[in-house]
């Protein structure tokens, strides 16, 4: 029985593998954010591809057949880790040529919720710089012939990111302290809050698969109404329902909170051809939106 099965496996295997299969890039990253790090380090020397496109929620993403082939065929796979890629985590952990960029981040700097680390590390630029180090190391290992170029590119990007960190700090400082409350669709901005002194509240938990309890919902609404928080924020990769529900409940209590005119990028970048398609562009966009919405007196 098993033998005949194995025979069938091999027989069919020939049939499928005889078709031309796209090989994918040499470096394959899961999210656009990780791909951004790799692209900057590579500086065009090695092709980098991201599996998840713009607006894709990495928590729920289901790898497809083609993704698997790309991951298998790549020389190096980079992923965020810390269970960001919910359904793919175990597979990635057991892929010998895969590296989690979050592993480059010092453990004591991670935030934990219920014993699980929060994977949204890129929202603290300083942490993301550490992730950059991990990417640099992994790429130098995988492509020793390009190691020198990679180190130089990484150093350049590190300088740029350090400047970005300062820029964000300055921009956020313009928001009056009592209005520094960021309410978003899911709990992705805790690192951001810790790094830049903003209180963050997410409607859903760290993963978008959680269901919100009525108590959590009510607490958020109470808070928005009590502190007359002017705006709450939708995310590109999360449904609007929760945010809209908060707005409606606040309106019912006579507080005209609004949904920020632009959505925040939380777990995904935009298309590569717009500024928000890169990490610094995405961070600047988010900060700009937050500052615009929260600073303005209504």
């Amino acid at each position: 029985m098993v033998l005949s099965l194995a025979g069938a496996v091999i027989g069919c295997g020939r049939y499928v593998s005889s078709k031309p299969a796209p090989n994918g890039a040499e470096i394959v990253a899961t999210t656009g954010l990780v791909a951004d790090l790799a692209r900057r380090v590579s500086g065009g020397l090695v092709e980098v591809e991201a599996i998840m496109g713009p607006g894709v929620d990495p928590h729920l993403y289901q790898a497809k057949a083609a993704d698997r082939r790309k991951l298998e065929n790549a020389k190096l796979v980079l992923y965020n880790g810390l269970h960001l890629e919910g359904t793919m985590s175990e597979m990635l952990q057991n892929l010998p040529h895969a590296r989690a960029v979050a592993e480059g981040i010092a453990k004591h700097q991670l935030l934990y919720a219920e014993g699980q680390p929060d994977p949204h590390v890129w929202f603290d630029v300083k942490l993301w710089i550490q992730a950059l180090g991990a990417v640099e190391a992994a790429m130098c290992d995988a492509f020793p012939q390009h190691a020198d170029a990679f180190r130089k590119n990484a150093a350049d990007y590190r300088t740029e990111l350090q400047a970005l960190d300062e820029e964000i700090r300055r921009a956020l400082a313009t928001i009056p302290p009592q209005r520094r409350v960021l309410i978003t669709a899911h709990d992705a901005f805790r690192y951001f809050g810790r790094a830049y002194g903003i209180e963050v509240i997410g409607l859903q938990g760290i993963s978008t698969a959680d269901e919100t309890g009525l108590k959590e919902m009510q607490r958020i609404v109470e808070r928005v109404v009590r502190d007359r928080i002017p705006a709450i924020f939708a995310e590109t990769s999360v449904p609007m329902d929760g945010v809209q529900a908060v707005v409606e409940r606040c309106h019912a209590r006579g507080h005209e909170v609004r949904i920020a005119k632009a959505k925040l990028y939380s777990d995904a970048l935009d298309r590569p051809d717009v500024p928000e398609g890169s990490y610094p562009g995405m961070m600047r966009h988010n900060v700009q939106v937050i500052v615009d919405e929260l600073r303005a007196e209504r």
Binding site: V9, S17, E90, L92, E211
Partner: protein, 299 residues
Amino acid sequence: MDPELYRMSVVLLTGSLTAAATALVGSFLVLRRMSLIGDAISHAILPGVVLGFLLSTERHPLALFPTAAATGVLTVWLIETLFRSRRLSEDASTAVVFPALFALGVLLISRIRYVDLDLDCVIFGRIEDVDRRPLILLGTDLGPRALWMLGSMFVLDLLLVVGLWKELKIGTFDPALAESLGLRPAWIHYLLMTAVSLTAIAAFEAVGAILVVAFLVVPAATAYLLTDRLWLMVALAVGFGIASVFVGYILASEPILNSQGAAAMAVAAGMLFGVVWLVAPRHGLVATLLRRRRLVKPE
């Protein structure tokens, strides 16, 4: 071995083992008119899964087995107890018990918030990744975990079905006769339900709940349209299950759908059923409609 080929072999072999293991027990479910018990069990064991994770300190993937299996049997027992109380129909008992247990499971998860226990993982299943989830015992990598689990589940189910063939057969067609022959149909019933629970959990962890539900019912139902002999039905069910795995794999492959393997295999099983339903020689749609027109004059 070419890694691509290796991966494909593992996926197809795991899928085939899932199909074979589920079809073995699923055939009896269909004949006992309990097709939906698989759906009920695969939802209702959620609290058992959560409990298993809570109890095991090192979160070993196999740790959820005992509690989940116990919950599966508990589900069946609860359904039967409610039904036997003569206050609810079998249908209603099922429809009360499994949502209640599922709700309990979801509540537990919400309280604990292990991201590990992502509900989606459980429902969608990741059959493409089975080669990347090894069984590690005492520090040694023994190869894909799903192969081990479903392989042993297949052997167990095979032992059960072959060993208790006569009892299962009589217990399925005539429980009263089985009782009078001293064959203990109630025991056989619970044994079968335990096997269904265990198979569901093994498959669940490896390939996702949706594939379990589909493979328990659809290949067996397809086979039932083609034959009146039990052994042939079971064999055909296994065959249809395996065929669905291959068709689904091709469907999910890049040039066609570029999609999720487990769901594609379940859809393939449904498509195979559709085809057989249309063209089956005796019990098919076309045959039935045609034959309705020409009646055989009775002797």
